[in-house]
Each structure stands twice: as structure tokens, then as C-alpha cells.
């Protein structure tokens, strides 16, 4: 197997502010050409990590290597990284051309070469002809692209993006996700992208590191993280999830049963929990069906509470006999007409779609 070089490596990086540990012994390997995200709620430390890679903060402990070199003590303007700021930080007194050209001018590139490369970048982001426009004349999406072009033009080893899509409205955000991915493919630069929006992370990344309270809980591909979460936090944070609490029983190789208030449920047991352990059973809304499915291990009775028509999916809440509420996300195929709210329904899901994770101790 050919091993791809590592553009960024964090080795047991810790950042402490007085007694507070913002980042706790974090290790990360980012491969060359990868689109790697760090996903986590606000305050989990992801921005701190990004700024440590960029050089604005120094780690208290641990090592950071960029392109194989230890960058301890190297100031930001001498690191082979480029940061796209959350609010973009475009220079308001300069036009588009000067903003993008800034990095080249700092490096003493001559004007003709600069013009050539700026034009090339403008073409890449589809803003040819915008050279003289001032920043406040641009729309949100256009500014976004200028910021990225400005950072890419200096050909950094790795591009760091700090939740750049937060200020955009929904449609634009969706569009920018595709654009970013396309740009990254075309240019081939390694991207490290931090966000709290799991939709962004899942859509764009090659790999995701899910972060919580200063530490990574799981690193994997979007599918890994979504389908096979390692911890309850990841299970909840990435996408929506239903959970049943109970005690593991009858462990049978890969599968196990959970004794829950609602009854006995069957699921996968990837964590190899022993019988008698307190556990949570997770099942994704889209894996639950309405109606009496055949040959499906888990079948529950309940009543339909609410239906939310969202166009792409139809979400419903079902209240089960003993009080738990289950969320379903049904595809809008129109195939099955739903019963009236308040009516009894049967919901089913397969054991191999559900999984057990240990109940969190905290």
C-alpha cells in the first residue's frame, strides 16, 4: 500500500490556559490532498487547534509538524499554511485584485507574474473581470471565493478554513459546499476544515475528526462516523439519532439484545459489550419504517404524534407504549399514505441497522 505523505501532523498536542485545558493530548494525521474536517460543538477547541496549526497560538505541549517539519516557534507569516477566517478578513480598503495579490506582493513576486496568477485564480473561482471591484460591492458568496483565492494563490501546503460558511444563507451554503469540494479537487491542496455543522462535514470531507471538550472522540470517513459511531456523543452529534436506554443481555457474537423499558430489542454489538452492561441502543430515523415489516427483528407499537412535511423527507414522531418518542425520517416517495395523527402505528427496524454503545459515565 502506498502511504500518502502527511502534510500536517499533530502529536499529543495540548493547550492549557491556566487551569483550563482547551485542547487535551490531541493527535491528528492529515494526508496530502485530503479534505479533512474537524467537527464539534462551539467551545470544543477546534478553533484553538486551527490557530495552533496556523501559528497564532503555540501549544503548551506536543508537536506540530507541517510538511514533515516541526513548526514550534515559527510565526504565522513563515508557515506554509494559509487561513481562511470565519469572517473572511478581506482587506476593506483594497479591491479584489489587491486582496488576492497581497500574498504574492509580500513575497516580492513581480507585477507581471502576479497579474498572471491573479487572473488564473479569478478564473478558478469564476470571478474574472472583478479585479477592480471593492470588497463591499461583493455578495457573500463572492467574498467567500475571493478569500479562498487569496489564500490559495500563495500555494500553501495546507489550507485552513474556519467555519467559512456560517454567515451564508441556506441555498448559498449548499452551493458553496459543492464549490469548495470542486475547488479542492481541482487544486489538490490539502484542506483542514473546522465546523459545527455536521451536514457540511459529511458532504465535503474525506475524513472527519469529531471533537468534544478538547479531545477527539472519533476519526474516520463520513460513512464511518455516521454509520459506526464509537461513542454516544458521536452518535448524537453527527446526524439525528434515536436512543433506547437499557441493559445488555444475551450477547451472541456480533449481535446482542438490549433489555429496555419498551421491551427486548436486537442490535449490533460492535463494542463487544458484556451482558449486564448499561447501554444505549441507537437507531437512525431513516432506518425506521412504518407498517408491519416482515422478518424484521424489532417491532414496536405506538401512536403517531406529529408529521412534519419537509419536502425531501417527511419527519414523524411516534410515541411508543411506554412513553419514549421515536423520530422517523421517511423518504417522500408518496408511496405510503400515512395514517392520521393520533392513530396507532407499528414501527419496525432491523437489528443490523441498530447498534449498542456503552452508556456514558459522565
Amino acid at each position: 500500500m502506498v502511504s500518502t505523505p502527511l502534510d500536517v501532523q499533530l502529536v499529543d498536542v495540548t493547550k492549557r490556559y491556566g487551569d483550563l485545558e482547551a485542547v487535551r493530548r490531541v493527535s491528528l494525521d492529515v494526508r496530502h490532498g485530503e479534505f479533512h474536517s474537524i467537527l464539534g460543538p462551539s467551545g470544543c477547541g477546534k478553533t484553538t487547534i486551527l490557530r495552533m496549526i496556523a501559528g497564532f497560538i503555540e501549544p503548551t505541549e506536543g508537536q506540530i509538524l507541517i510538511g514533515g517539519r516541526d513548526v514550534l516557534g515559527v510565526p504565522p507569516h513563515r508557515r506554509p499554511t494559509s487561513l481562511v477566517f470565519q469572517h473572511l478578513a478581506l482587506f476593506p480598503l483594497m479591491n479584489v485584485y489587491d486582496n488576492i495579490a497581497f500574498g504574492l506582493r509580500m513575497r516580492g513576486v513581480d507585477e507581471r507574474e502576479t497579474t498572471r496568477r491573479v487572473t488564473e485564480k479569478l478564473d478558478l473561482i469564476n470571478l474574472l473581470g472583478y479585479e477592480r471591484k471593492r470588497i463591499d460591492e461583493l455578495s457573500g458568496g463572492e467574498r467567500q471565493r475571493v478569500a479562498i483565492a487569496r489564500s490559495l494563490i500563495i500555494e500553501p501546503t495546507v489550507l485552513l478554513l474556519d467555519e467559512p460558511l456560517g454567515a451564508l444563507d441556506l441555498k448559498l451554503r449548499e452551493h458553496m459546499k459543492e464549490e469548495l469540494k470542486a475547488i479542492q479537487h481541482r487544486v489538490g491542496t490539502t484542506f483542514i476544515y473546522i465546523t459545527h455543522d455536521q451536514g457540511e462535514a459529511l458532504a465535503m470531507s474525506d475524513r472527519i475528526a469529531v471533537m468534544r471538550r478538547g479531545a477527539f472522540e472519533q476519526i474516520g470517513t463520513p460513512a464511518d462516523v455516521y454509520e459506526r459511531p464509537d461513542t454516544p456523543f458521536v452518535a448524537y452529534f453527527v446526524g439525528e439519532n434515536n436512543a433506547f436506554a437499557g441493559t445488555a443481555a444475551t450477547v451472541d457474537g456480533e449481535m446482542a439484545a438490549l433489555d429496555a423499558p419498551v421491551g427486548r430489542l436486537w442490535a449490533r454489538n460492535p463494542a463487544r459489550l458484556a451482558s449486564g452492561t448499561r447501554a444505549l441502543l441507537f437507531i437512525r430515523p431513516e432506518k425506521v419504517a412504518i407498517g408491519a415489516g416482515d422478518g424484521v427483528e424489532n417491532r414496536l407499537q405506538g401512536s403517531l404524534q406529529e408529521v412534519y412535511y419537509e419536502g425531501l423527507v417527511v419527519r414523524t414522531r411516534v410515541r411508543l407504549a411506554e412513553g419514549t418518542e421515536l423520530r422517523l425520517a421517511l423518504p417522500n416517495t408518496g408511496a405510503s399514505a400515512l395514517p392520521q395523527t393520533g392513530q396507532p402505528v407499528t414501527v419496525t427496524f432491523a437489528a443490523h441497522d441498530a447498534y449498542l454503545l456503552p452508556e456514558p459515565s459522565v
Binding site: 476593506p92 509580500m106 489564500s151
Partner: protein, 294 residues
């Protein structure tokens, strides 16, 4: 509604009276400057520009104007750099004793000009410095720097530090980032502060009185003339003085209006932000004249 109209009427009357009270003395001064009466009083004896002629031929008066300009320029040259440095220091950095320093740099604003003049006179004489234009520059700067500091730091606080970080991230050394990004942003404030500094210096009396020695600036010269006796010549030079300071004041106002334009945070760059509110002489920060006794 009748009562609203009445209120408005009362307001208008009140303000009208106030304005008349403000302007009347000045109009009297201006008018009598053109009166061919050896005393600055009525009756009106004909229109003349002779008093102005006397002013322009008076070497002391013209010299005083020249000195005022020189001192003003000196004060600007000294105050603006130090004021900008102080603004950066206090807005950006934390350090031991910052609170005390903050109090010290703002203290001249509440120190009567006399005190500044007297204390520096004593100190300079200890050092063997002769009073004159140089000591006047130093003396006036002592409090004018505080004004520069206020004006510049008000703008500096609106600066998004992420811009400097972005510049560094793109390869600029910290110093270059400040030079290319932060200072251009501060330029309107720096220019306005320079104009304010000049105006404050031009108008200053109480501090200058102790430090000017044998020379004179315009306020000092006018004061001496008044002490010597009333003459329409004083009216004439007053008119000149008024024209100079009012033009300066209008310039300062214009510059401060300019200053309210580009904001640096993207959220602030909205179409209506550039229309700007009514430009107010932000009082403590830029009372176009100084509380330091003109």
C-alpha cells in the same frame, strides 16, 4: 396638535435667543473692525479697511501669527506619533501597571492649563532650557497628545484584528501588516487628530503664557494688545483670528465626517453604514477646541 406646535415654538424662541446671545458679541467685534472710528465703538464713522492694513503691517502681529503656525506644526509633529503609539499600546496590549498608565495619559484632560504651564516652566528651568517656541511646543503637546490618543484609539478599537492576522498569514511580518493594513485604516483618524492638534495649539493660551518667554503666539499677542488699550486694530486682528480658527474648525468637522466611513468588519459594511449619522463633535474625544484655555 396645538401643544406640540407650542412646544416647538418655545424651543425655537429659546434657541434663537441662545444663538443671538452667542453671536451678538462676535458680530459687534466684526462690525467695529470696519468702523473708521478711532475707538472701537459707535457711532459709525464710515467704512474702512485701514485697521486690517495696520494689522498686516504690524511686525509683532504678523510675527505672532507666524509663531502660532510654527508652534502648531511642531505640536502636530510631536503629538501625532506619540499619540498613535499610545493608542496602540493601550488598545492592544495588557501589561503590569496599565491601569495607572491609563489614568496618567488621560490626566491632562482634567488638569488646568495653568498647572501644566507652571510645572513645565519649573522643570525646564531646572534643565536650563530657555522659554520660547520650543518649550511652548513641548508644553502644549503635553495635553494635546491625550486628545490624539482619544481620537485614534476610538478608531483603532473598531479595527478587526483578524485583518492583521490575515496579512501575517499571507506572509507579512507583524510590522508590515501594521504598516500596510492597520495604519491605512487609521489614516482618517490620524489626519483628523492632526487637524485637532493644530487647532488646539493655535488657540492655546493658559499653558503657552508660562512657556512662551519673550516670543508671542497670536493669542498672546492679542491679549497683550487688549491689556494695552482698546483699539479697532484689535477688532481687525480678532476678525482674522476668527476666520482662521473657524476655517480650521470646519476643516476638522469635515475630516471627522470622513472618518466615519469605511468600517473594517464585514458585518458593518452594509449599504446604509456609509450614509453615516449626523457628524457630532464627539465631545471629550474631539471638542474642536480644548478645555485647555485658549
Amino acid at each position: 396638535m396645538a401643544s406640540a406646535r407650542l412646544t416647538r415654538l418655545v424651543y425655537v424662541l429659546y434657541i434663537g435667543t441662545f444663538l443671538s446671545f452667542l453671536y451678538l458679541p462676535l458680530l459687534v467685534v466684526a462690525l467695529l473692525a470696519f468702523n473708521a472710528n478711532p475707538m472701537p465703538a459707535f457711532p459709525w464713522k464710515g467704512f474702512t479697511l485701514g485697521w486690517f492694513g495696520e494689522v498686516f503691517r504690524d511686525p509683532l502681529m504678523m510675527g505672532a501669527i507666524g509663531n502660532s503656525v510654527l508652534v502648531g506644526l511642531g505640536v502636530v509633529a510631536l503629538s501625532v506619533p506619540i499619540g498613535v503609539a499610545a493608542a496602540f499600546l493601550l488598545v492592544r496590549y495588557d501589561f503590569v501597571g496599565k491601569g495607572a498608565l491609563y489614568a496618567l495619559v488621560l490626566s491632562p484632560l482634567i488638569t488646568p492649563g495653568v498647572i501644566l504651564g507652571v510645572s513645565m516652566l519649573i522643570f525646564f528651568s531646572d534643565l536650563g532650557l530657555q522659554t520660547g517656541l520650543g518649550t511652548t511646543v513641548l508644553g502644549q503637546s503635553s495635553f494635546i497628545i491625550s486628545f490624539v490618543l482619544l481620537i485614534v484609539s476610538a478608531r483603532l478599537q473598531k479595527f478587526d484584528p483578524a485583518l492583521e492576522e490575515a496579512a501575517q498569514d499571507l506572509g507579512a511580518t507583524p510590522l508590515r501588516a501594521v504598516w500596510r493594513i492597520t495604519l491605512p485604516f487609521l489614516r482618517p483618524a490620524i489626519v483628523a487628530a492632526g487637524a485637532v492638534a493644530f487647532l488646539l495649539s493655535f488657540d492655546n493660551f493658559n499653558t503657552t503664557l508660562f512657556l512662551i518667554g519673550n516670543s508671542a503666539t497670536l493669542p498672546i499677542q492679542v491679549y497683550s494688545a487688549v491689556r494695552l488699550g482698546l483699539s479697532p486694530k484689535i477688532n481687525a486682528v480678532s476678525v482674522v483670528f476668527i476666520l482662521l480658527t473657524v476655517s480650521l474648525g470646519l476643516l476638522v468637522e469635515f475630516l471627522r465626517r470622513e472618518e466615519r466611513r469605511p468600517a473594517s468588519r464585514p458585518e458593518e459594511m452594509l449599504p446604509w453604514a456609509t450614509a453615516g449619522p449626523v457628524p457630532v463633535p464627539a465631545p471629550a474625544a474631539a471638542a474642536p477646541s480644548s478645555p485647555h484655555d485658549r
